[in-house]
């Protein structure tokens, strides 16, 4: 990460397929032509509210020259979709988008050649318009006429050449999301709204106590509830199946009344979380180090410590799944981000071969990482065993969603900078203490699913790990500065204990690291009486980085004259150091509480396939990050998560949402990258820096609540 990544330099070596296409090379697994004039597109990435299905439809329609209304997007299923792993990391456009673009480019050529044969003309004189292939003298055919004679059950070959950006008519233009009308008219589209024939309802009993074991369960009360079909118990896993949803709720209530639990696992002291993080056994890794050829002369060292709390996904819908057994085969409907990965974990828990399990995706509420979607799928599979072949739908409670789903990991970051006599940075040291940021299913030989840890023969709770730096890292994500400091050492300490369950939450460690780096830089600039924009530009050589900072600053009229209680701050990052560039200017008002009035953002995502979709993602990310910064903190006492309702875990409300203004840099010839996670780190830092500008206080502990503000003021004075 110490050198800028080159963008488009074509490899002189033999052409290669995009990775997703290489892994799933059969063309028909991506694209098929239906006899009724439609194009069937099967991506391996799933819709999680980010609009990916629309962007992928645009890419296919563009490359094939068909109207986007002809494109039918197929829900991902292990029964035939390409295996693209997990929909995460802002990679769907890179992975699925490139695969579809190249597959379509090749298919287009195949059909053009066949059309040339059939029409007796040269390929070069043919044109395609909405799927009709025509040539001189009014001769024409179409994809659909030719489809019967063309075998797409063949492997993609490297070397297909997609259209130039200037030849595309859809990509680069905002098109309406194809999933919106269902949602606006209240038509069933979510898994939650799906009713299968003969469907039963299940609920799972879980203790509020963290990792408690079920020591006694009296079933009499629940047995008396009308509609009860079964009570299921396997170790500490217990649940009910009922003919009706209300019956399942009532039976669960009765079961809960008569359940006894052992004391669970002790949780850390919430008020000294940063100290606790540093005191745990950890696996330490040097993420990056760099030595100056001619070391500068250190005159003094500045040290700062930053922290963020555990953060909940807090999806607006509790997690939901359905499962149905037929003999020793099971079919699962899920809003998991990775159907193949979930299938792997189910296979381990159930001791069933993979081909006995079919996992299909259905849309859930917005998903910001690894929440309880996968957990509830196993719950449904276990309860459905007692349903006599009928499908069982399981829905988690709000309280379970807020307390038993994995959280984004708390972080402690320490940064030291050695400064020379002029205050210039001569060495930079960044250390992170945090649980791992991922414990996703399907990646280890033990399952990551909650119920797996509750069975009579339990699997151990998976301790979260971090993806490798090559994949963007985890706790260390965005810890390597994009700034060209002469020397640095970046260390990550991944905790080996995990009393609070953590896994992937939007941006993994990037939010915490960018908050730390950008807060510290802001302080260094202030120490030198240097403008924070100028200070950053001076330490950057990457022109795309400089451009977003300049654009955000220009758009925000940097720097507006100070007014009482109002402050302005800047934050910048390139997500994962390889993804989208994003710079943010925050305007805040500091009174008893901090309110964020405006966020001015410039973003470079390379080619923006659906610019309005990019804006929607950046804006949504910015508002969610504002919520994290001002409000969010998972609360717990020594035995249970206490922030298990919206009143205990408040998020930003309509009246508190800032104005957000976004500029997308025009880069139609750059590789497209995702937008969903680009804004969180820069927004966090921009708000913190604006708080300093307004009030003269650096708040190093997130969230920036009244309490943390007062604590920081007391430290300062």
């Amino acid at each position: 990460m110490t050198t800028p990544v080159t963008e488009t330099a074509p490899s002189p070596a033999a052409p290669k397929l995009p990775p997703s296409l290489a892994a799933n090379p059969v063309l028909s697994s991506w694209i098929r032509f239906a006899p009724d004039g439609q194009v069937i597109v099967s991506p391996g990435k799933v819709e999680i509210g980010q609009g990916i299905v629309t962007a992928l439809a645009q890419i296919a329609a563009d490359e094939l020259d068909v109207d986007i209304a002809r494109v039918q997007m197929v829900r991902t299923t292990t029964a035939g979709s390409p295996n693209e792993g997990v929909t995460s990391g802002s990679l769907s456009v890179q992975h699925s988008g490139r695969a579809i673009r190249y597959a379509c480019a090749e298919i287009r050529q195949i059909f053009l050649a066949a059309a040339a044969d059939r029409l007796g003309v040269a390929t070069e004189v043919l044109a395609i318009s909405d799927g009709t292939i025509s040539g001189p003298g009014n001769v024409s055919t179409s994809y659909w006429e030719l489809a019967d004679d063309i075998e797409l059950d063949r492997h993609a070959t490297p070397g297909a050449v997609p259209k130039l950006s200037t030849q595309r008519t859809l990509a680069g233009n905002s098109v309406q999301r194809i999933d919106l009308p269902d949602k606006v008219f209240g038509r069933p589209r979510f898994i939650h709204d799906t009713v299968l024939p003969g469907m039963l309802h299940g609920r799972v009993l879980r203790s509020e106590l963290s990792a408690a074991t079920l020591t006694a369960l009296k079933e009499d009360g629940a047995r008396g509830v009308a509609g009860l079909v079964a009570i299921v118990r396997d170790g500490s896993f217990a649940g009910v199946v009922s003919e009706t949803e209300a019956g399942a709720e009532a039976a669960l209530l009765a079961l809960r009344k008569d359940a006894a639990w052992s004391p669970g696992e002790a949780l850390p002291d919430e008020d000294h979380l940063a100290d606790w993080l540093k005191a745990q056994p950890a696996e330490s890794t040097v993420i990056s180090s760099k030595t100056a050829p001619q070391p500068g002369e250190k005159k003094r060292t500045m040290r700062r410590q930053y922290s963020r709390p555990y953060i909940a996904h807090a999806s607006i819908a509790p997690s939901c799944a359905m499962a149905q057994w037929t003999g020793d085969r099971v079919r699962v409907w899920t809003h998991s981000q990775g159907v193949y990965l979930l299938r792997s974990d189910l296979s381990v828990v159930l001791k069933l071969p993979l081909d006995h399990i079919t996992v299909e995706h259905m849309e859930g509420a917005g998903c910001y990482g690894h929440n309880a979607a996968d957990d509830v799928a196993l719950d449904a599979v276990l309860l459905a065993k007692a349903a006599g072949g009928r499908p069982v739908r399981v829905l988690w409670s709000r309280a379970d969603e807020m307390s038993h789903a994995p959280f984004g990991a708390a972080m402690r970051v320490e940064i030291e900078a050695d400064l020379d006599a002029r205050g210039e940075i001569v060495d930079w040291r960044h250390s992170i203490w945090s649980n791992g940021h991922t414990a996703r299913p399907g990646r280890a030989d033990q399952p990551a699913l909650l119920a797996g840890t509750e069975l009579a023969k339990p699997f151990p709770r998976m301790i979260s790990t971090n993806p490798p730096q090559a994949g963007g890292g985890g706790g260390d994500r965005n810890s390597v500065p994009l700034y060209d400091f002469p020397s640095w050492r970046i260390e990550s300490h991944r905790l080996l204990t995990m009393p609070v369950r953590t896994s992937a939450l939007r941006t993994l460690g990037a939010q915490g690291n960018v908050f730390a780096i950008e807060s510290f830089l802001d302080e260094l600039a202030a120490e030198q009486n240097e403008d924070p924009v100028a200070f950053r530009l001076r330490h950057l050589t990457d022109s795309r980085a400089q451009d977003v900072i300049r654009s955000a600053a220009r758009r925000a009229n940097w720097k507006p004259a100070p007014r009482d209680g109002v402050g302005y701050g800047l934050g910048f990052a390139r997500y994962k150091n390889t993804g989208a560039y994003c710079a943010v200017v925050a305007e805040i008002e500091g009174a008893e509480d901090i309110s964020v009035r405006r966020l001015t953002i410039a973003v470079d995502v390379g080619e923006a396939i659906n610019p309005d979709g990019v804006i929607n993602q950046i804006e949504g990310g910015a508002i969610q990050a504002t919520s994290w910064v001002l409000k969010e903190r998972v609360r717990f006492d020594n035995s249970r998560i206490t922030s298990n309702s919206w009143s205990e875990y408040p998020i930003l409300r309509f009246s508190e949402v800032p104005e957000v203004e976004i500029e997308i840099m025009a880069r139609p010839d750059m590789e497209p990258v995702g937008a969903g996670e680009a804004a969180h780190g820069p927004v966090t830092a921009a708000i913190a820096n604006a708080v300093f500008d307004a009030l003269g206080v650096r708040v190093p502990t997130l969230p920036i609540t009244r309490d943390n503000l007062i604590a920081a003021m007391e430290l300062t004075s």
Partner: protein, 156 residues
Amino acid sequence: MPTIRFRLNGADTDVDADPDSSLLSILRGQLGMTGPHFGCGANECGACNVMIDDHAVASCDTPLWSVADKDVTTIEGLGSAQAPHPLQRAFIAEQALQCGYCVSGILMSAAALLKRNPNPTNMDVRAALDRNLCRCGSHNRMVRAVLRAAAEMQTR
């Protein structure tokens, strides 16, 4: 079981159920209206909002007996693809959502607002939607969409 009678999306409806059942469970269960969504069950998120007479109400903690003889409107009754409500048209025009799970409740809160205040300000809209939670960050688009719908309804 007693029969509770009310008007659902304009149609007389009889329900035989425990009168203490939540309206949401009856709508989604017996009546098959899955537009109102379960989010929390505690009147804290607004995903299940419906209109009772002209007021936006969380249906998850509204007992069935309390809607006897009243008008209940769900998202399904607000408009359809063939005859959309101006709010629905505006939400599509502004692409005013990401995941959309909260949107049916938000549309009902907005519809109730426009009934009592056909010409709301930006702040009026935010105040009316303040009890509705959106996790994806589509708030500003939704506010724009509500203002757009209000403007359209004014000029009709």
